[in-house]
Subunit: 202 residues, 2 copies
């Protein structure tokens, strides 16, 4: 099993591979990837070794093999449905963004409880009330205030949604078999401050 930092780097490596392919280049070495990804070549080799044999010593990696293998590891070939609950500032920024629902992710439905929001159209979907049945989906994105996060999580789990991406600053409890991933942007600010205080790169 890959570690979380490795998983987080794979999409970055894949974007680099795609850029290379778009320029018609068929091989890339770990040093080239490392410079573009802002990590060491050793980290790149260790990360990619986790995906099985990919490169040949001294000859680098076949870019299209790299692209496919990373895609498989991240499950890109499969389409999956995403529902978003909480269509406020953050929910809108996510569904309107061109680079959030990518790699197979498809928006299935939007939910909110505010009568001013329910019934309006956002990103091509009419926002629905949360008190009805929830569309079957693979992932539920939680963009509600912290006080509502647990209740919304319970609703999603009851609708057989087993992956929760939680942006609300609230630890939620879920039954076994549910994967929860928390997002906390303040950590991004702290990473930047660490680099700023220590003169290190991105």
């Amino acid at each position: 099993k890959l570690s979380e930092p490795t998983i987080a780097r794979l999409p970055v490596y894949q974007r680099i591979a795609e850029g290379w392919l778009a320029r018609g280049q068929h091989r890339i070495d770990s040093q080239q990837i490392a410079e573009l990804a802002g990590v060491t070549a050793t980290t790149v080799r260790r990360d990619l070794a986790g995906l099985g044999t990919l490169g040949t010593r001294g000859a680098g990696y076949d870019v299209s093999v790299l692209n496919d293998r990373i895609g498989e590891a991240l499950g890109h070939d499969r389409k999956y449905d995403v529902v978003v609950v909480g269509i406020g500032n953050l929910g809108r920024a996510l569904v309107n963004s061109t680079n959030f629902l990518i790699r197979g992710a498809q928006l299935a439905a939007l939910y909110d409880i505010d009568p001013e929001v329910v019934g309006t159209e956002v990103a091509g979907h009419v926002v629905r009330a949360l008190d009805g049945p929830i569309e079957p989906a693979t992932v539920g994105v939680i963009c509600v205030p912290a006080s509502a996060a647990q209740e919304v999580a319970d609703h999603l789990v009851a609708a057989q949604i087993h992956g929760l991406l939680n942006f609300a600053p609230q630890v939620i409890t879920t039954p076994l078999g549910t994967a929860v991933h928390y997002v906390d942007f303040s950590i991004e600010l702290q990473i930047l401050m660490y680099h700023l205080n220590n003169g290190t790169g991105p």
Copy 2:
């Protein structure tokens, strides 16, 4: 120098230490931290060793020493000013959030170019036009469309702002001495999908 994954885990460890202190507990061991942070005890020990000697073998860590040492590494004792450029959906979600500008970060000013937005009040600040001088600050947060990201970055650098937190999906070029950290939520979705596909924990 600490690695980026270690830097990203320190705020998580600090939150755990604060929770422990709030419950009046004075010692914690690496296994307890590991369970709450969702990593292995080895990872915890390796991360904290990067901060100098903290724990005693077999006796765990003094929680308030841990809290202070992490705070120093992340530069928490120092207050610093943050400006946000682009007060749309994402910019509003960030400045209104209770857990983005924490640990010494203080909001100094908000900027936008839309005449409908400039002059309005958001999170206690009147949004200013970007064509005037920019408030001196340590960090500039970029929440504009990708097409405007480079121009905004140039503006911030010209105002002697050396730390850029870029949410726009656009690689920006900056002079030496500027730290840039990119945020890409689609990676969070891909981490969740990896865990969902492989039945691994958060």
